[in-house]
């Protein structure tokens, strides 16, 4: 194995800065998998039904999550929406809410109440800048934006909007979430230190061919070309602190994946850290990376410290994990105790690197 040098490596607990934990029985199923994946801090997306648009809803949601797993820190977000005013931002900041997530209208799961135009939110962004809150951008233009906008071009087509927001609000901390393209990586690099990007683990593995014909590999933004995957892999091990892990782990009921029109989302939560190591190993195997690219420092930066540093948060528990090459077999399916919810994980049935808690 290309990365056997990492067997037994001790690292700080990982932070996963982009997770979907859903509602109800699904939440109860997926929250306990966070620590299994080597993670003790997550940034929680607000695209519930209805979306999390009030401080009260966010705090209730956080309380419910915390009850399910007291040993994870849940950083909470609001869903950018016409009801979000500068006043709401001030309250949110005071209540300890970390960010505001912007979904362009109609691009992914539960985005039907998303943003049609950013201009109306400029006063909100100004307030966020003052309050030092993070703007989390789902960076895709919707298909309605132009006849040549496709799932393949939607992210690159969004980059001018992203760069314009950074230019207008240079002190606003912005995260371009789940980057999937070389163009997005390049754009982020041109920005100042207030801008960062999350990279998922599944986009380190996949290209368009992987989701062509496989519902469990289909997500938004879609995985793109080999050249895009190479750019993501290189960014992840570049040592540039603006790139860090946000798995965008997005569980869907198996029945909505094995369907005539199926949901977008890849579920990686239970093996978040192990899969990152697997992805680097695959990339070494194909010559995209070398074993020398994947050092303790790079891994720690990408999975553990860069995200926390950008958000300005620490691991108060000061926990450590250990990587194990003789890892785990990924479950074929996860079932809730009452059997009402089933989720198919990414790379089901495959071996992955394991994680032990110190």
């Amino acid at each position: 194995m290309a990365l056997e040098k990492l067997d037994g490596l001790e690292l700080p607990a990982a932070a996963d800065m982009h997770v979907h934990l859903r509602d109800g029985a699904m939440t109860e199923l997926v929250v306990p998998t966070i620590r299994k994946g080597g993670v003790n801090m997550v940034f929680v997306m607000p695209n519930l039904v209805p979306p999390v648009t009030t401080v009260r809803h966010a705090l209730e949601y956080q309380r419910r999550l915390q009850e399910l797993e007291p040993k994870v820190t849940f950083l909470m977000s609001l869903y950018l929406h016409s009801s979000i005013t500068p006043e709401v931002i001030r309250k949110a900041k005071h209540a300890g809410i970390t960010g505001v997530k912007s979904y362009p209208h109609g691009v992914t799961t539960h985005s039907d109440q998303g943003v049609m135009s950013y201009e109306e939110f400029y006063p909100v962004f100004e307030e966020m800048e003052r309050e030092d809150m993070v703007l989390n951008l789902h960076g895709e233009l919707p298909p309605s934006a132009g006849e040549d906008i496709t799932v393949l071009s939607a992210e690159e087509a969004f980059l001018p909007t992203f760069l314009d927001l950074h230019r207008r609000f240079p002190k606003l901390r912005i995260i371009l979430e789940h980057c999937t393209s070389a163009a997005a990586i390049t754009a982020v690099k041109t920005c100042g230190p207030t801008v960062a990007a999350t990279i998922t683990v599944h986009h380190l593995f996949m290209i368009v061919d992987d989701w062509a014909g496989d519902p469990h590999c289909f997500c938004k933004p879609v995985a793109k070309l080999p050249s895009d995957r190479r750019a993501l892999l290189k960014a992840a091990v570049s040592g540039d602190s603006r790139f860090f892990l946000g798995t965008d782990s997005a569980p869907h009921p198996a029945s909505s994946k094995r369907a005539d029109k199926y949901a977008a989302g890849v579920f990686t939560q239970p093996h978040a850290v192990g899969l990152v190591v697997d992805a680097f190993e695959q990339a070494i195997g194909t010559g995209v990376l070398t074993a020398e690219d994947v050092t303790k420092e790079k891994l720690e930066g990408f999975m553990c410290s860069n995200g926390r540093a950008f958000y300005g948060v620490k691991d108060d528990r000061n926990e450590r994990i250990v990587l194990r090459q003789s890892g785990a077999t990924i479950d074929e399916i996860l079932r809730s105790k009452d059997g009402s919810v089933e989720v198919v994980p990414f790379k089901r049935g495959k071996m992955t690197w394991g994680v032990e808690w110190q």
Copy 2:
């Protein structure tokens, strides 16, 4: 409706120069849908299991098809394979077999016995040139051909191979099957009159966004960008006799579409002609075509006469069809009488233009 002028239009029966009729119960289910779609002549693909590599197998298959539907002409093909020799070509020609289909190894349904290298078949192509048989090319490079070959680039990456075959065998009649890209259309136009291309009806409708998340819209080659769709639509109504209909209608059991790793193929057979008119109407609605582009002559060329002219065959029955705007609702699902086979048609449940036999 943009094309109401076509309501009641009489045309020759259509020819569908690329169909998959499968084996067994599936054959019994789909063969009766050919005439329903306004078609009385089809070119039959040989990718059965095992593939049709002998004259005897092809003739047995033809007899079975003919028994199921005596009022359709079945033009037969062999599967290009190491067992196909110049001798086999001479026998095939003598037996009335029309073409030889080349599948690159591993690119689509039942292509695991496909071609690894074309050079070994040069003597076969020479014999086909002499015997005036048609070479039907599945025009995609397999992923193994290069690290940047994807389902999106595989067709364009094949074009040099296609052009090289035409250059080496200028008198060999070649059809670049199911073109999906502007690049393929351009390449075909640069060739001499021995080269033609089929265009499916589903590629006149779809782009990548349509199969992202929908197994019933997923096929190989995959639908690509809006610019590619525009090129296909314009070629179809260009009046250039080298472009004609081959639906590539490819039925799969519903269970292999609603699956964790699902089959490539779109089933359009029962409404082949109606869907072509629908596609042109959709293109007029989006401004890609005008109503003036879609004339009786263009429709007749694309659906009825260009294909027959290229293959040098006539409709001995001299049948006529009539287009009806007040068409039919496409079935949600087709079931064999014993219920053992189910197929989901393209645009299930939608309205389509209808066809009446004169």
